[in-house]
Amino acid sequence: MSVPGGHAPKSASLSTEMAADAPPPPDVRPSRLILILCSFGAACGLALALAFEWTQPRIDAHQAMLTEAAVREVLRGPDHFTPLYVSGGTLTATAPAGADPAKLDRVFVGYDQSGKAIGFAIPASGPGFQDNLKLIFGYDPATEQLIGMKLVDQRETPGIGDRIEKDLAFVQEFAGPRAPIEGVKAGRGQGNAHAVDMITGATISSRAVIAIINKRVQALAPALQNYTQQQGGAR
């Protein structure tokens, strides 16, 4: 395309004007920007790594302490207990080779002073009203009865849903009923061995706890039965 000669100076002046309006070119070389960002990133990363090294053992120790306290509570004070690993529908005393024991699905078997197994403490989780509920419950496969229940982590509405953890009358309901448990209105469960009185006003949270326990018991019942029979046969 041919450009008329008369237009050339105009476009040239236009481009100089635009250049004057545009911000001045950065006086910092890109390599310097990259260097600065990288060194900041590296320094922050180092600080975080050091902090992680220092804090992680403490966080893990606290978690282990919470788990132990919860197991003791839901088994009503066992003399001692040992973890079992759930893998492929069976319970094993040792973790399968190559797996991280902390990440495996675990249950805890509790013993009384004479060394007799008194039941299993089983961690379970599932959806609550606002977020996932994490709980642990005690279960005796011989009688199919629950021994106790404790919420480990919940974010239910303060004052309403969080009564599933704080209302001791509700928590006590989980000592004794037979699985599968069934939520009933408070006081309507006389004579029903499966009944658990729900909390008025916290129906969804109560139901969630019951559903989580039932689901977990159903999934684990064969494995628990097998394990108990094997142990009984060996003795």
Partner: protein, 219 residues
């Protein structure tokens, strides 16, 4: 920017330019974690830690960081301190960590942080920046504690876990729920504007219609 004295840098954000009540910054934690005094106070202290730490480093390196990557490095430093705070609270105060939950990680998005970095730490010497951040942190802690005190006392009948009323106290549950955050903050703002109006010499101003009356009379 006018020159200020060091003491002003420290005191000003505590009361006269309080981040919660005057600057109205950092509203997310103000609504979310002020259901108990201990939560509100802990959140304030954690934010103060992140503020002071980031201000120190942002101010220390302010001359070697070019303008092009100014905000990026600020955010990087804030994020690093937030993660540090997250780990330290988890290791040292697990109960508080459980209550504050995800909101510690969200400190990184708190506008008080980037606000102080951009408005102050980028331009001033290290000592002044730390003083300013410390004042802002204390002011923020004060704000959160005030809001959470109202919420906990009315919504649960306790202050920092101590029962204040007898067993027949019926708590106003709404103050424990999310709307309670807005209500408590609103009442505080109303009360503070009332004090402000009184201070300006509007003797006849009454608390209730403070927002609508006596505004332009003096002018």
């Amino acid at each position: 920017m006018t020159a200020t004295r060091a003491i002003e840098d420290f005191v000003d954000p505590i009361w006269r330019n309080n981040p919660t009540f005057v600057q109205m910054l950092g509203m997310c934690p103000t609504m979310a974690v002020t259901n108990t005094v201990i939560n509100g106070f802990s959140m304030g202290v954690t934010t103060t830690f992140v503020l002071v730490g980031s201000a120190f480093f942002v101010s220390l390196f302010r001359k070697s960081v070019p303008n092009e990557v100014r905000i990026t490095t600020s955010i990087l430093v804030i994020a690093a301190f937030t993660s540090l705070a997250d780990m330290f609270v988890a290791a040292l105060a697990p109960t508080i960590y459980k209550a504050l939950g995800a909101f510690i990680a969200l400190i990184v998005a708190n506008c008080v942080l980037l606000g102080r970095m951009e408005a102050f730490a980028q331009k001033r010497p290290v000592g002044r920046s730390v003083l300013d951040s410390l004042g802002t942190g204390i002011g923020f802690t004060l704000g959160l504690s005030c809001v959470s005190a109202v919420r906990e006392i009315l919504g649960n009948g306790t202050f920092a876990g101590i029962h204040l009323f007898g067993p027949h106290f019926q708590p106003m549950l709404i103050f424990m729920l999310p709307p309670g955050g807005f209500l408590a903050l609103g009442f505080w703002l109303l009360f503070l504007s009332y004090l402000k109006a009184r201070k300006k010499g509007h003797r006849r101003v009454r608390l209730w219609p403070v927002v609508v009356t006596r505004r332009k009379v003096a002018a």
